[in-house]
């Protein structure tokens, strides 16, 4: 029972209501018409609401998760992949179940049988795409599949958001996502096209549109989410990433050019007498090394962008006008964890994956807080519409980063 967190004792550990340093929880606090019964607003604006900070804790352990992960991986292999949805759901359930806010954990309730049907459909389409993309006579099939995917991509994202939300439960209440498909075509279709057409100039704007779409249409019970963020910080994140990329490129590129020149000088610049093979080999090696360095650099910078936007989103998210999340994790620390995780996974042929996942979640979640001006047990439930597992399967199998 060592790893078991007793809900009752955790509830007792709830920190005493501490008046926060002056920042009341925002404009919605004065008008709590969003589904939560808060008594504070009635007192008028003079009475600053009492802000309670609820720490978020993560109780997953690497050893425990390793056993779960490898047993489910083995079952997936033994069943030729048919068990995959059950494995994925169980892995995710472990992380949700070990994430606690104010003494209560989250729960992931997706039905693996429904996921299986969608996985099979998406897998079959992908296989058809790969097989026909090489063929001359059937090439149009792959083009058709690609066009279908591109055209449906925003719809799939909306479906995936809906599926993920409705299968997330906390304190017996489900989350919901009611973003309209039309808005998804703006945030994930038009915005991405604009980002591509503008040569990346509009990319941070696309990130902003997407995060706003995700948060503004999220509901917990009947309380509505709100993204209070702005576009400018997204551009700041992108500029930081670009600067780091350029700086590191210079830092690595200049010595590389010096090395090439030095090598040429050692050869006495007698280009005519240069051993063709030697020069060719050196060139190939040089280009390959530069390519790998560039890839690693790009990966590092991308990790930074993801972590930094995640922190910004968490710092700008609000629920029902009474709850705000906050994040204090350092994006560069997240980058370091991701890079060292990747190395560990490579060296252990993937066996370190569970440890890596736990390590990352632990660091991210220990830097997340939930602040509220009303008790967390006063949210009211509401009904949600139907949801399809297809979007979830497509986004998960095709590894579309939703950045959430």
């Amino acid at each position: 029972m060592a790893g078991m967190s007793d809900p009752v004792s955790l509830s007792k550990d709830r920190p005493a209501a501490a008046p926060d340093s002056g920042t009341p929880l925002g404009r919605h606090a004065a008008a709590p018409a969003t589904g939560i019964h808060s008594g504070h607003a009635a007192d008028g604006t003079q009475a600053a609401p009492v802000v309670t900070t609820y720490p978020v804790s993560f109780t997953g352990s690497a050893g425990e998760y390793f056993r779960l992960w490898i047993v489910n991986a083995a079952l997936t292999v033994v069943t030729l992949g048919l068990y995959l949805p059950w494995a994925r759901v169980r892995n995710r359930q472990y992380f949700y179940g070990h994430t606690w806010v104010d003494g209560h954990n989250f729960e992931y309730r997706a039905d693996p049988r429904r996921l299986l049907r969608s996985y099979l459909l998406v897998g079959a389409l992908f296989l058809a795409y790969v097989l026909t993309s090489e063929s001359e006579s059937l090439g149009w099939v792959s083009v058709l599949i690609a066009l279908l995917f591109l055209g449906l991509y925003p719809w799939l994202v909306a479906q995936s958001m809906r599926f993920q939300a409705v299968n997330t439960v906390h304190r017996g209440l489900r989350f919901h996502f009611d973003g309209r498909v039309r808005d998804a075509y703006v945030a994930y279709g038009a915005a991405n096209v604009a980002a591509a057409v503008s040569g990346g100039l509009a990319l941070p704007w696309a990130w902003f549109m997407q995060r706003r779409y995700q948060l503004d249409h999220l509901r917990y019970g009947s309380a509505r989410g709100l993204f209070r963020g702005d576009v400018a910080p997204m551009y700041l994140i992108a500029l930081t990433a670009l600067g780091v990329m350029a700086g590191a490129g210079l830092l690595l590129g200049v010595p590389a050019v010096v090395a090439v020149v030095a090598w040429m000088a050692a050869q006495g610049f007698e280009l005519d007498s240069l051993n063709w093979m030697g020069a060719g080999l050196f060139g190939v090696f040089f280009v390959a090394a530069a390519y790998v360095i560039l890839l690693v650099l790009q990966g590092v910078v991308w990790q930074y962008v993801r972590a930094a936007t995640m922190r910004y989103v968490l710092n700008s998210a609000e629920l029902g006008g009474v709850v705000r999340t906050g994040a204090t994790f350092n994006p560069w620390r997240v980058v370091w964890i991701s890079v060292s995780n990747g190395v560990a996974q490579l060296l252990t042929l993937g066996l370190a994956t569970p440890w890596a996942d736990i390590r990352r979640s632990r660091y991210l979640l220990q830097g997340v807080t939930v602040r509220a001006i009303a008790p967390l047990d006063e949210f009211a439930g509401s009904a949600g519409g139907p949801e399809s597992a297809l979007g979830e399967a497509a986004t998960e199998l095709l590894d579309i980063g939703l950045g959430f």
């Binding site: 029972m1 790893g3 078991m4 967190s5 007793d6 809900p7 009752v8 509830s11 109780t59 997953g60 352990s61 425990e64 998760y65 390793f66 056993r67 779960l68 490898i70 047993v71 489910n72 991986a73 083995a74 079952l75 292999v77 033994v78 992949g81 059950w86 169980r90 359930q93 472990y94 179940g97 070990h98 003494g103 209560h104 954990n105 729960e107 992908f126 790969v130 993309s133 090489e134 063929s135 001359e136 059937l138 906390h170 304190r171 017996g172 209440l173 917990y220 019970g221 063709w276 093979m277 060719g280 993937g350 066996l351 967390l376 047990d377 006063e378 949210f379 009211a380 439930g381 590894d399």
Partner: protein, 355 residues
């Protein structure tokens, strides 16, 4: 139900599903259902059939949910498991949870996963690839040849042949006989090319076959041969690769491998780049030992029919191996380098068996 207090009861927390409020509660696990006891409220009873028990997860409290959307959560794993077993719930996932609790099972899972993946990659995948290659319609093959030739010519790995027209005609005639004998309705053609168009780089003395019957032979290989029979032996060997569809099988094998890597890492982007790499794989990828042996057997049959001996192929294999030290890149004929001696021995045995 009288005597309800003798049934196991577990402390926990109850959510009514309509608000986020947590109510401390106890649940009595009775044989025919469960009874919820909330402070200051009347007991509520649910029949066993109406109770959903979520599968156990290590370290996570158990949840029982009820038809009205309410739920009860408790940390008393053992008691819930006993009730779950008695009512035959979560048989499969309960078993999975028991496996997940044991380090022995985890080690076993590592062994099983590793062994199955290794076995599939070394035995299952090649067999599947051969099957897929055998049933691939012939119309698909031509595009493979076209793409591979485009890559080869684009990379300056081969250039126009420097052989005289008369010499080329001789070799073309020899190839017509080989391809007519091999049959199968493929688009056979022999391309004579310079293997070192840019000086020291290129493929050197080499010959290789593409799926639809395009066979490329370099001037350097022609120069290396001491008789036409040696070259005819090589051409028959390449025709063997065509009729046995070895090139296509190796493409499928690489495709399967990349799909497995995709499934394991969840990375589709690297798998998509594979499609672009197919022509390169066709040219650079060597065949398996088994494929070379099969093609040698085809060549041996042709040579024995025409000349009664497999010696020409043996000699050029031996000469290629001794010349290979200076050449760049592994010639197709020697792509499974350590086996050259064994291949020569195999050809000798085939000749002995024919006598």
């Amino acid at each position: 139900m009288p005597g309800g207090d003798s049934w196991p009861e577990v402390p926990g927390v109850f959510f009514d599903g309509r608000s986020s409020r947590d109510h401390p509660a106890t649940l009595h696990l009775e044989p025919d259902g469960v009874r919820l006891r909330l402070a200051g409220r009347a007991d509520h009873h649910w029949r066993a059939a109406d109770v959903t028990v979520d599968p156990a997860l290590p370290g996570v409290r158990r949840a029982l949910s009820f038809p009205d959307g309410s739920r009860f959560e408790t940390a008393e794993h053992a008691t819930v498991r006993a009730w779950e077993t008695r009512h035959g719930r979560n048989r499969l996932l309960g078993g999975v949870a028991r496996l997940e609790a044991s380090w022995g099972a985890a080690l076993g899972a590592v062994a099983v996963t590793g062994a199955l993946l290794w076995g599939f990659v070394t035995f299952g995948l090649p067999a599947l690839a051969r099957q897929a290659a055998a049933v691939t319609p012939q119309g698909v093959l031509a595009s493979f040849d076209r793409e591979a030739m485009r890559v080869l010519e684009g990379q300056d790995l081969i250039g126009p042949s420097g052989l005289s027209a008369a010499r080329q005609a001789q070799l073309q005639a020899a190839f017509r006989d080989v391809s007519g004998w091999a049959g199968g309705g493929y688009g056979y053609r022999l391309l004579l090319r310079d293997g070192e168009p840019a000086g020291g780089v290129g493929m050197g003395a080499n010959a290789f076959a593409l799926p639809n019957g395009t066979v490329v032979m370099t001037d350097q290989l022609v120069a290396l041969a001491r008789s036409d029979r040696e070259l005819i032996g090589v051409l028959a060997h390449e025709a063997g690769h065509v009729t046995q569809r070895h090139g296509l099988a190796s493409v499928y094998q690489a495709l399967g491998l990349s799909l497995i890597v995709t499934a394991l890492t969840g990375d589709v982007v690297s798998a998509s780049t594979f499609a672009a790499a197919v022509p390169v794989a066709l040219v650079q990828g060597g065949y398996s030992r088994a494929a070379e042996t099969q093609s040698d057997a085809v060549a041996a049959r042709y040579l024995l029919e025409r000349y009664g001996t497999t010696r020409p192929l043996q000699t050029i294999l031996a000469r290629l191996e001794s010349a290979e030290g200076g050449a760049d890149g592994l010639p197709d004929l020697l792509s499974t380098h350590p086996g050259t001696a064994a291949r020569i021995e195999h050809l000798r045995q085939l000749e002995d068996a024919a006598r």
